[in-house]
Symmetry: C2
Subunit: 471 residues, 2 copies
Amino acid sequence: MSSPIEEVCAEVLKRVTPTASERKQVLSLAKRLVEKVREEAKERGVETEVRVEGSVAKNTWLRDCPEIDVFMRVPTAMPREAFGTVCLEIAKRATEGYRQIERFAEHPYLEAIVEDVYVNVVPCYRVKRGEWRSATDRTPFHTDYVKPLLDERKSGEVRLLKRFMKGVGVYGAEIKVGGFSGYLCELLVLNYGSFTEVLEAAADWKERTIIDYEGHYERKDDAKKLFEEPFVMVDPVDKRRNVAAAVRKERLDEFIATSRAFLKAPDVKFFYPPQIEALEPAELVNRINARGSAIVFISFEACPAVPDVLWGQLYKSQRALRKLIQKHDFTVLRDTVWSNEKNLNTFIFEVENRFLPNMKRHLGPPLRKKRECENFLRKHVGADSTVSGPRVEEGRWVVDVQRGYTDVVKLLKEKLEDSGESVGLAEFVSKAVADSLEVIVNGEALKLYSAYPDFAKFLTEYLTGKPRWLT
Amino acid sequence: MSSPIEEVCAEVLKRVTPTASERKQVLSLAKRLVEKVREEAKERGVETEVRVEGSVAKNTWLRDCPEIDVFMRVPTAMPREAFGTVCLEIAKRATEGYRQIERFAEHPYLEAIVEDVYVNVVPCYRVKRGEWRSATDRTPFHTDYVKPLLDERKSGEVRLLKRFMKGVGVYGAEIKVGGFSGYLCELLVLNYGSFTEVLEAAADWKERTIIDYEGHYERKDDAKKLFEEPFVMVDPVDKRRNVAAAVRKERLDEFIATSRAFLKAPDVKFFYPPQIEALEPAELVNRINARGSAIVFISFEACPAVPDVLWGQLYKSQRALRKLIQKHDFTVLRDTVWSNEKNLNTFIFEVENRFLPNMKRHLGPPLRKKRECENFLRKHVGADSTVSGPRVEEGRWVVDVQRGYTDVVKLLKEKLEDSGESVGLAEFVSKAVADSLEVIVNGEALKLYSAYPDFAKFLTEYLTGKPRWLT
C-alpha cells in the first residue's frame, strides 16, 4: 500500500517524465543543433566549444515543455560586443528557416522554435572556474557538477519539484516571477534527497535559511553575513554566488505555505491547477461593487523592452505609485500589476476610499519646542490653506489644512500626465505612460476586461485573492 | 514710559479691582451673612465657628463677579449626614427670602444669590491641620496661610492672573473645565512674584513641573514619585495634596501656549476675549460641507446630575464612544462634547468618512507560526465572512473579511439604542440616551443650531477650531 503522497507523486511523475521515444527525439534534435552551430562557427573561423546545457543536458526537463539550451563557449579574447554580432549571426544561421526571437538577458542570445521545441542558442566565455566574465559562464560548470550526481530516480524528483513549483506559481528566476530556477530545484533535491523531503524541509524553513551543500563555509554565520537575500543556496561551483538570489520573499513564503498545504492534503491540483474561468461581466461588476472599495486601474500601451527589463520597470514603477498614493493619505488595501508584454500594461491599486475629506490634520511641533511652535503659528494662523485651527492637542500644535488631492483618480491623472518621471516611474514605463495613460475605476474596467481575456482571468483571480490550490 | 505689558496690565487691573465702595459693600454683606449663619446655628444649638473664606476673605475676588464663601466649621462629633440636614437647614434659614440652589460637590452645600451676589454656605469639620475629615476642611487653613502673605499689590497680581485664566478658558477646578483654582492662582503669584513672572515661568514649563513653595520635600524627586498629575503644586498646608490635582493636561498646555502668546504680543483680548458670533445657518452648512468630513452629533436630553457629576459622566462616555468608533475603523479627526446642563447634551465626533468599504483586511498569523496558520485557514477559507483571500502577504496570512459596520451612524444608533451600557457609557448618560437618543450628521445639525443659541456659538467655535486670542 502506498501513501497518498506516493500515489499523487507516481501519477504526476508519469505525466512529467518523457517517454523513451520523446527523449530520443529531443536528444537527437539537440545533437543536430550542436553540430549545426559548430559548423556555422567553423565556417566563420570562430573558435568555440559548443555544448548542450540546462535541463536537457541534465535529464531534468519536463515532458510537456522541453527547452534545449545550446551554449557556445568562446575564447576570452573575443570582445563582448561579438556576442551580439558574430555569435548571434552564427545562432541565426544554425536555426535558419525557423521562427527566431532575439533575446537579451545580461547579454544577447537567440531563441528559436525548431520542430516545435524551444531552443536557446547562448554565447558565453570559456573560462576557468572562478574567473567569470559573463553571467552565463557558470552554466557549463553547473551542468558538469549536477549531471554525475543525478540518477534516474533523482531526476524524477527534480521533475516533480519543478512541476509543483510551476503549478503553484513559484517557478522561474525571471524578474516577473522572482522564483526558483531549475538549477536551484536540482540542488534542493540533491540536498534533501527527494521531492517530498524538500517540501518537508520547506514547511519548516525559518527566516533566512542557508544551504551550503558543498560546505564552502565553515560556519553558517559567515555565509549569513555575506548574503542578504531571504533564502540562500550557496552555489557549489562558486562560493560567492547565491543560486537563490532571484527568489523574492513573497515567492519563498508562498512555497513554504504551499509545501505545508500539500503535505497535509496531497493532491494533483498543486501540480496542475484548475484553469481560471473569468467571471461573467455582470458578475465581475457585482463582485467589485460588493467590496465597497475603489479599485483603480492605471493602464498604458506598449512598453518597448524585453520581459526582464519590462517587469523590472513595472515593479519599480508599482512601488513608486504606491508611495505616491500613500503619501497623499489614501489607504492602499492591495496592489498588483499585469502586462501581456505586448500592447497592454495595467497597474491595479485597490484603495479604501476613492475620496478623502478636503480637510487634513497636520501635526505641528510639540509645545516644548518653543521656536518651532512660533514658526508653525506664523505659517498657519490665517493662512489660505488653513481650514480650522491651529489649536493645542495632546501636547502639540495641530492645524486642519486643505488637502492637496481628495480624489485618487485626479491625483494619478495629474501626476502622471506629463510622463510621471517626477513620481519615480521607471524610464520606459514613464515614456509609455506619457503616450497612452488611462486611469479608470471599478466597473469601468469592463472595457479592458472584455478586450483582453488574459486580463479577465487575472482580474478574476485578483478578486478571489487566494492561491488556486486553497479550497 | 511703561512697557506694553505694563500698560495692558494697568488697564485690566482697573477693571478687575473692586472700588473702595464696592469692597465695603461686599465685606459688609459677608459680615452680615456670617452673623446670620451664627444666629441660626445658635438657635439650633449647633456649635460652630462661622468664617468668611475664599477670595473675599483673601481680597482676591474679581470686581465683576464677587462670590462670598461662608464656612461653618462644626465639631467632628457631628455625623456626616448632618451636612445635608441640619447644616443645610441653617444655611437656608440664614439666606431666607433669596434664591437658593442646593449644591453637591463632595458634600452638600447651599448656593444663594443675595443682593445680586453669589453666596455659598458650606459646612466643614473643625479639625487640626492634617486630620482632614472632609474635602473642605482645608479651606480655612488655606485662607489663614495665604492672607498674611498677600499685600495689595500681590492681590492685584492674583486678580490679573485669574482674569487672564478666565479669558483664555483655563480657570476653574470644576470637572467641566479641569483648570486652575483660585487658590492655585494665589500660590502661583506667591511663588513667582507677579502675574507676568507666572506667565514667564509657565512659558518654559517642561513635562511634570513641580512647585513646592513651602519646601515640604527635601528632594523634588520624592514629590515627583508621589504625585501623578501633569502639574504639581504641593499644598503648603498639606504636603500630601496637590493643589493642581484637577488641572488636566489640555488646560495646562493651553495655559503654556497662551502665556507665550501674551508675552509676545500683550493684549487686553486675552483677559476679555471677543464674543463669538454664531455663523448664519447657510454659512454654517457651507463650512461643514467644505470640510468634506462627517461631523456626527449624538444628542440626548436631560441628564439628572449636578454639573461635576454630569461632566464627569459626559467625559467618560465621550472616551467610550471614541473607542467604539475607532474600534470599528472609522478615523476620528476630533471629538468634543457640549451640554447646557439642562435639557440638551451633544457629543460631536468628526470622522474622516461616514462610510467605510464593506471589506476589511484582517491580518492573520505570521507564517512561522505553523499551528496558528492552520487554524486561521480552517476558519477563513470559504467562510461566509470571507470576501477574498486568504493569501500570504509580507510573511503572514491575510484575509479580506466582511466589515461589521460600514456606516458610522448606523453603528452608533444600533449600539446605543438600548442604552449603550455595553459600550461603556456612564450610568446617567446611558439612561438618558436610552430615552432620547438622536444621531445626526453634518447639515442635519441645523435643527439644534437654530434651537439653542449657546450650541450655535459652541459649534461655530468648534469649526474655527482655534483659541479665540489666536488671530
